[in-house]
């Protein structure tokens, strides 16, 4: 696992953002602008990026460390996914403004980039591309569900 302390320069973070599917089609100057609209957050081991049912006004790009996505069940917390560097969390909530449907917990110290709605929409051109990419990502998941549903019916 990459040490979070190795991501200290804007150049290294712009390079990370450039590989994130949500930021596909953004030019390097646009990525640099976007980075300027973000904040870097360090989440200590055992702490939460956000909790289930929290109100949502930001998404996170996971940069380094170890973190998991968990959902509450009757008895305990169900592990939904482990985050990989460059992965986005919280993108659905920033478009539909509904409470978080799961929590994200740092298993080890983590570094992430936090992008809030106001920061994203400070450039309409960049926001249009990012929202289109979010729509594409969610559409892929919708298509996967409907394909699965079709197979079940056959």
């Amino acid at each position: 696992m990459t040490d979070p302390r190795s991501y200290t320069t804007d150049d290294s973070l712009v390079a990370v953002l450039g590989k994130v599917s949500l930021f596909a089609d953004l030019s390097r100057p646009q990525l640099a602008f976007l980075l300027g609209a973000t904040s870097r957050v360090v989440i200590p081991e055992g702490k939460l990026f956000f909790d289930e049912d929290d109100s949502a006004d930001s998404l996170y790009v996971f940069i380094a460390g170890e973190a998991v996505v968990e959902k509450r069940t009757a008895a305990d917390w169900l592990l939904l996914a482990k985050l990989n560097p460059g992965q986005i969390v919280g993108e659905m909530a920033i478009v539909d403004r509904l409470p978080r449907s799961a929590r994200v917990r740092a298993v080890k110290n983590c570094l992430a980039i936090r992008l809030d709605i106001a920061g994203l929409e400070s450039s309409h051109e960049i926001a249009a591309i990012v929202y289109r990419n979010i729509a594409r990502t969610i559409t892929e998941r919708v298509r996967a569900y409907t394909d699965l549903d079709d197979k079940r019916r056959e």
């Binding site: 449907s101 892929e140 919708v142 569900y145 019916r153």
Partner: protein, 151 residues
């Protein structure tokens, strides 16, 4: 066959009022709605004809103004209706954002009028594009949340 009637030149207050109630256009100002109308074409499709067929690549979003549309998917047992579109609703959002071929067809259940918005028109106006893509993402997100709950 789809018939493109005209690109509206005269601003129609009733149309602006109708579009302002469309979920996809939530958050657009009156000026932006006027731009949307000027960027669309009016399409009339006769009963039992299709706005698009499965496999078509269109890059177009439709807003149904009058009539009715059923979205149908081919199955081994024939065509199955998966959604009914009423005036004021939009269709073809999935292909609009990912540019993949349609996996369904949109058949008019009666003579229908729709506005069609081509994706390339959005490249010239970032503020409208931002709001429309955000609204499409929100609509798809809510659809995905429902699918998650059902499964």
């Amino acid at each position: 066959m789809n018939k493109i009637v005209s690109t509206p030149k005269v601003l129609d207050d009733a149309l602006i009022g109708a579009l302002s109630r469309v979920t996809l256009f939530k958050g657009l100002s009156r000026t932006q709605l006027i731009w949307v109308i000027s960027a669309t074409s009016r399409v009339v499709v006769d009963a039992d004809k299709c706005f698009y067929e499965s496999g078509d690549v269109t890059d177009v979003l439709f807003i149904l103004i009058s009539g009715g549309v059923t979205i149908e998917k081919a199955t081994k047992d024939g065509l199955r209706s998966i959604s009914e579109i009423s005036p004021g609703q939009t269709f073809a959002e999935l292909a609009f954002v990912d540019s993949r071929p349609h996996t369904t067809r949109a058949r008019a259940t009666s003579k229908s009028l729709a506005l069609s918005l081509h994706k390339y028109r959005l490249t010239s106006t970032h503020d409208v594009a931002m709001i429309l893509y955000r609204n499409i993402a929100a609509m798809q997100s809510q659809r995905l949340r429902k699918l998650n709950e059902q499964n």
